[in-house]
């Protein structure tokens, strides 16, 4: 080949190679910004960095940076630990430059302008919501999770009505021994779904109020604990059957409100956490069942309710944080093992039979469980 043809042939192949190289690197279509469908505008000056919005959905985020200052500036989007998600350099005075960043995961990021191309820049937090590719799947899964959990709540409330009716019948029949046996059993169904019951602010005090709770003038003390005091301390009174009948009515009221319940995944996850807080602040101290000392039945029910809420969310948890699920399993297991050690027949040891050492161990196990459970809400909504 002559030098000229060689050169021509070579040039052609080089051009093709360069075009291919440019072609295979990833490109991104200019993304729609929030609201008006344009990019997020950044007005950069020598002393300020005004980002038009501090929030964008996951996916391709487009910034249009205009340098209104006198110094050359740069614009960065950082992830945690100053990992650069995207940057655009050489934004001369009077120029506008676009930056398209692929942000697949929601979370907190940082925007920064660097007038003079040095230093840490003028920073501000920037929130990215949702998860790009997984958003729809996740929403569907979260919806499935809350629906599944509501079925659980519904079945527990049915059992609550049934068992409370049995308990009330025993009270009406003045069968103290039977009533005492049924008391912690009926309460189990209530304690499992306590956060739901508590969300109906008017019902919880009627069902689960303590003697020393504040009540409006003229409102009598009713519910489980009033009957508990009658059974274990004062003996059944003339109005005990009537209190029992009211208790049944109130549980039916609760049952009737379940189908219309709307629940978000965050509420569900927070419910799992608040059940454990119940244990830590109430059951561990023995204040709740202060006459019967059947606190461990409630303890077990709270933990089971928490576990049911977490189980409903498990597919989403596994998708978003593979390490969290196994940790939760392990901590629930530890609490369960500890509780099994206090089993007596069908029930549990009474609170008065526990040593300070026992309650300390339980408190530690519940705290250890509450720690990963408290992360669930953030994980599923991330």
């Amino acid at each position: 080949m002559s030098p000229v043809t060689r050169t021509a042939a070579g040039l052609t192949s080089l051009t093709v190679a360069a075009a291919l190289l440019a072609g295979c690197t990833s490109t991104a279509p200019a993304a729609q910004g929030p609201g008006d469908g344009g990019p997020i505008t950044v007005n950069a000056t020598d002393t300020a960095c005004e980002v038009s919005t501090t929030q964008a959905p996951a996916g391709n985020v487009t910034f249009r940076i205009t340098n209104a200052g006198s110094k050359v500036t740069e614009f960065y989007l950082y992830a945690t630990g100053d990992r650069i998600m995207g940057e655009v350099e050489n934004i001369g005075p009077g120029l506008s430059r676009d930056l398209i960043v692929e942000v697949p995961d929601g979370g907190t990021y940082t925007t920064a302008c660097k007038p003079g191309m040095s230093g840490d820049g003028i920073r501000a937090p920037f929130t990215v919501t949702g998860s790009a590719q997984r958003a729809t799947d996740t929403n569907a899964e979260l919806a499935a999770a809350t629906a599944g959990y509501l079925r659980y709540v519904s079945s527990q409330s049915d059992a609550l009505v049934t068992k409370t009716s049995e308990f009330a019948a025993a009270v009406s029949a003045r069968d103290v021994a039977k009533a005492k046996t049924l008391f912690p059993v009926a309460r189990t169904y209530y304690e499992r779904i306590e956060p739901i019951a508590e969300s109906f602010g008017d019902l919880d005090p009627k069902l689960d109020g303590r003697e020393d709770d504040e009540r409006d003038p003229g409102v009598a003390w009713t519910g489980f604990h009033r009957l508990e005091k009658d059974l274990w301390i004062d003996g059944l009174k003339a109005d005990s059957p009537q209190i029992a009948a009211t208790l049944v009515t109130d549980t039916k009221d609760l049952q009737g409100r379940i189908p219309g319940l709307k629940l978000t995944s965050a509420e569900l996850a927070n419910g799992a956490k608040s059940l454990l807080d119940e244990v830590a602040t109430g059951k561990i101290t023995g204040e709740e069942d202060r006459y019967s000392h059947t606190d461990l039945w409630d303890f077990q029910a709270n933990v089971e309710g928490s576990q049911a809420a977490v189980a409903a969310l498990r597919p989403v948890i596994d998708q978003k944080d593979p390490a969290l699920g196994p940790l939760l399993d392990q901590r629930f297991e530890a609490v369960d093992t500890l509780l099994q050690g206090y089993r007596v027949g069908d029930g549990y040891k009474l609170y008065t039979q526990l040593t300070p050492e026992d309650t300390k161990k339980m408190a530690a196990a519940v705290d250890a469980l509450a720690e990963p459970v408290s992360k669930v809400a953030g994980t599923v909504t991330a």
Binding site: T25, G86, P93, G94, S118
Partner: protein
């Protein structure tokens, strides 16, 4: 105005310096016939940069940050390979010159034609995409204010003038010294390009240690000062240098300088380093 001019100067110097030395070398060694290859390489780089920029703009696409950094970083590191090769090519060529043997000379530059085109293309194209995108942004702004575009073009013009000055200077100095001086200069230029490429790859997250700085002299040498611009444009010196950049730069300089300065074997042309 000044800010944009300095950007033009920096980007222009990065591209023009190697080309100026290459041209000077070809002229000094009486190979003017190779010059079209240089311009072909430059034209190719410009065409690809502009083509890609226009293509992306017209299709409302933009290179993602990772793609841009990975491309710039890889091209820089490939460019280092070619510049290194050029250093040793010139060195061996300088030796054979004194013997005035056409055959030996041809053997020494048998890789020549291709290398010349690619080298020129890489020298210009390495940062060509960034420059083209910048130019496009400046042109867009020209609707409102011509300042940025004018500033940028002035910067480019100054860079070309400086490169031309280097070329004229290279033509004047003693031939023996020419090879030593340009060789030295190119070693430091190449080391800078290498460090720059490493930094790009660090920014793209392909290499670690972006925030582990070896030194930070941005107070003394502001990146937007004229001397900061010159240092960056010629030697790719960055006021904030990461440890990995510093290590790579030092290793390159030590190894290549040692090879470059090792005494020649007598009576035989040295093998060309690649």
């Amino acid at each position: 105005m000044l800010g944009n001019a300095l950007i033009g100067l920096r980007e222009g110097l990065e591209a023009a310096l190697v080309v100026a030395i290459l041209v000077a070398f070809l002229v000094r060694t009486g190979r003017r016939s190779e010059l079209p290859r240089v311009w072909a390489g430059v034209a190719l780089a410009v065409a690809v940069s502009v083509g890609v920029t226009l293509g992306l703009t017209l299709t409302q696409q933009a290179l993602t940050f990772q793609a841009q950094e990975a491309l710039g970083g890889s091209l820089s590191i490939i460019a280092v390979g070619f510049v290194t090769w050029m250093i040793f090519w010139m060195r061996s060529h300088g030796r054979t010159l004194s013997r005035e043997l056409e055959g030996a000379l041809d053997r020494a530059v048998s890789m020549g034609p291709w290398a010349v085109v690619v080298m020129a293309a890489l020298a210009v194209g390495r940062e060509g995409l960034e420059t083209a995108i910048f130019f496009f942004a400046a042109a867009q702004a020209a609707g409102e204010t011509a300042g940025p575009l004018v500033g940028f073009l002035i910067g480019i013009a100054v860079a070309v003038a400086l490169a031309y000055g280097i070329y004229r200077g290279a033509l004047k100095i003693d031939l023996g010294r020419f090879f030593t001086v340009t060789g030295f200069l190119l070693i430091f230029v190449a080391a800078g390009i290498l460090a720059y490429g490493v930094h790009d790859l660090q920014e793209a997250g392909l290499l670690p240690g972006l925030n582990t700085l070896a030194f930070d002299v941005s107070d003394v040498v502001p990146a937007d000062s004229w001397y900061g611009t010159l240092l960056k444009g010629i030697f790719n010196f960055s006021p904030q240098t990461t440890v990995l950049q510093a290590v790579v730069w030092s290793l390159y300089v030590v190894v290549v300088l040692a090879l470059f300065l090792r005494p020649a074997r007598r009576r035989t042309p040295a093998a060309t380093g690649a």
